[in-house]
């Protein structure tokens, strides 16, 4: 098993798709054949589109009674052999949190698409935000790791959804396509290739499904009905799934492995993109999602004006691209983080750098305009020459 190339379901070619639709197309291409969801703006189009696409590939769709049920059904289906997905937004994500921890604990592969809207609470349902950046990582109780990817275009949400499934299967972990209304409801060119690279689970009969001696390793995952008599539990368990809720060493070893399998493989997962960093710019913009497009646009305008501005774009949010951020920041005088929240990722960067990081927050339910970044950088250049 492992990585292999398959023929995609969608005929190759050029399409004009909404981000939500492209996400569903990517899922189908990656082999997703189970979707459990609940309606929510601005993520419902993912679900509506996959319902149409499942007709062509015998996928199983169920609209559950709530988001708690959606993620529960996904976990059940994943252990029955499916590559499952759901799509949601902040309020639904909040409801899923307990079972996200369950999926992390039981090492269940699944993909959760979060088309972020302006929160907190019901907030502005139809408008973009990036307020869930920390929630996806820290929202469930206890210590665990997840993977979160952040697309900035419709093409990228297609490609990243495929990658999300591969990472989920490869690492047996919940993976988030952490997008926003700006990308989810954007319609753009999408190129669909004939061949898709997918990761297939290693079943390894008889092997312990919850342990491997390999440091940072991922155990094999058999499925229900294989005759393995699987014991799957969210309680602390030994390599074969027997509950060991009173044994401290078992808990320590399990939690360390759940965290380690992601942290130790961060270099395999982390993915970034950079612009104008070669000359050691004065200002480093660090951005992600739809905001990174405003940042790139701003960087180009400022470069034309003679200002040395560069951009580091985070395509992976979790595990956090620590090494790249530190290395990029070393070359620059100032680090500015424009984002559609009150500085969530800025704080994460501050944690890494031994200096001030400048937050450029925006929580007004609009995508950030390049002019906001341009004016901010110009003003700082004047006041802090």
């Amino acid at each position: 098993m492992g990585y292999r190339k398959i023929r995609g379901v969608t005929p190759p070619g050029q399409y004009f798709l909404q981000g939500d639709e492209a996400c569903a197309e990517g899922a189908v291409a990656a082999g997703c054949r189970f979707f459990a969801g609940y309606p929510i703006t601005p993520a419902s189009e993912v679900m509506e589109h996959i319902v149409r696409r499942f007709k062509d590939c015998d996928g199983v769709f169920v609209q559950m009674e709530d988001e708690i049920g959606s993620i529960a059904a996904m976990i059940g289906a994943s252990w029955a052999g499916a590559k499952p997905m759901t799509s949601t937004s902040g309020p639904g994500l909040s409801l899923m949190m307990e079972n996200i921890g369950y999926a992390a604990m039981t090492e269940t592969p699944l993909v959760i698409v979060d088309i972020q809207r302006a929160g907190p609470s019901t907030g502005q349902a139809t408008r973009p935000g990036s307020g869930d950046m920390l929630q996806v990582k820290y929202g469930s109780h206890g210590d665990y790791e997840i993977i979160a990817l952040s697309p900035w275009s419709v093409q990228e949400i297609y490609d990243m959804t495929i990658r999300a499934f591969n990472l989920a299967e490869r690492f047996r972990v919940p993976v988030f396509v952490l997008s926003d209304e700006g990308v989810g409801h954007l319609r753009e060119n999408v190129t669909v290739e004939q061949e898709v690279t997918v990761f297939e689970r290693d079943k390894a009969p008889g092997q312990p499904p919850f342990h491997t001696d390999e440091p940072g390793g991922v155990p094999p995952m058999p499925c229900f009905g294989d005759g393995e008599k699987l014991l799957v539990t969210g309680s602390t368990h030994d390599p074969f799934g027997y509950r060991k809720t009173q044994v401290s060493e078992v808990h320590e070893r399990l939690v360390s492995r759940l965290v380690g399998k992601i942290r130790n493989r961060a270099d395999e997962i982390v993915d970034t993109d950079s612009y104008f960093l070669d000359d050691g710019p004065d200002v480093l913009l660090v951005a992600y999602g739809i905001t990174a497009r405003a940042a790139l646009s701003a960087a180009k305008v400022l470069r034309d004006e003679g200002q040395k501005v560069g951009l580091l774009r985070l395509r992976t949010i979790w595990p956090f691209p620590e090494r790249v951020v530190v290395e990029s920041a070393q070359k620059c005088k100032e680090v500015v983080v424009p984002e559609l929240n009150q500085g969530q990722i800025c704080r994460e960067i501050e944690r890494l750098l031994d200096r001030d990081v400048i937050s450029l927050p925006q929580t007004n339910g609009e995508t950030m305009k390049p002019t906001k970044i341009i004016e901010f950088v110009r003003e700082r250049a004047v006041t802090q020459p």
Binding site: G69, A72, A73, W79, A80, G81, K229, L231, V232
Partner: protein
């Protein structure tokens, strides 16, 4: 437990964690006898359970695929597994607090969908594992750790609830009615669509000691006296039935 049933069990985890006098051991035996008599292959079965004493009946005891999930959600987990792999025989075994209180929404929607699951609800009328708090199934007037002066809230009639929501096989038996219980579990397993079997199971540790029912034996005696068959109930007046529990099959469509 009869030795011939050991092949269905992970005997290495014995003894079971159930208190002496708990009805869940009888229910565990009844489920395995039903499976044994039907000749089912446990390798084709999946047992899903939530959190609570009832959830421990299959996990880790049953030598089959078991999925022990978050509190209240086993029916939703089971829904996903069954829909993706219809060849699996999927059985939910969990308590009343798990299935009917925190998980009540999933229960009624599974019944509405009439999805092909068998749900066995071990109803002891109380939250046993967490220390005897009042449940949505605690009878009126009963003392629990959170109703020291007696429960003032009416309990759910779980069978009526599932029937109204669209379940297509619905029954209720007590663990003292072992033979009809086994037969009912078999019917539930053989039924296509949602089957719901409520099993009254005494909890001497949390329920008994706070209420008049006393010892485990006395609780079973009381349960026996309180239960009347559906057929007999039809001949009784509402005043007579006030403190009775009607058992039998309610929906067999």
């Amino acid at each position: 437990m009869s030795k011939h049933l050991y092949k269905y069990l992970r005997t290495e985890v014995f003894p079971t964690p159930f208190c002496s006098g708990c009805g869940h051991g009888i229910l565990m035996g009844a489920i395995l006898r039903a499976i044994d008599e039907l000749g089912y292959d446990m390798d084709g079965m999946l047992f899903v359970s939530g959190i609570g004493c009832g959830a421990w009946i299959p996990s880790p005891h049953f030598a089959a695929d078991t999925l022990h999930v978050t509190h209240g959600r086993p029916v939703a987990f089971a829904t996903g597994a069954k829909l993706f792999k219809p060849s699996l025989k999927v059985v939910v075994i969990s308590g009343d607090g798990d299935i009917a209180s925190i998980g009540g929404n999933h229960l009624i929607h599974a019944a509405r969908r009439d999805i092909d699951l068998t749900i066995i609800c071990a109803n002891n009328g109380i939250y046993g594992m967490t220390g005897g708090q009042v449940a949505a199934s605690t009878p009126l007037g009963m003392r629990t750790s959170t109703t020291p002066d007696g429960n003032r809230e009416r309990p759910f009639d779980l069978c009526k609830l599932v029937e109204a929501a669209g379940g297509t096989y619905v029954s209720r038996y007590s663990v003292h009615q072992v033979k009809p219980l086994i037969r009912s579990i078999q019917r539930g397993l053989e039924h296509t669509g949602l089957s719901f079997i409520e099993v009254l199971s005494p909890c001497p540790t949390q329920f008994g000691r706070r209420n008049v029912s006393g010892t485990a034996f006395e609780m079973l005696q009381t349960l026996k006296e309180d239960c009347v068959s559906r057929q007999k109930a039809e001949t009784m007046g509402s005043e007579e039935l006030k403190y009775k529990i009607v058992t039998g099959e309610f929906v067999t469509s």
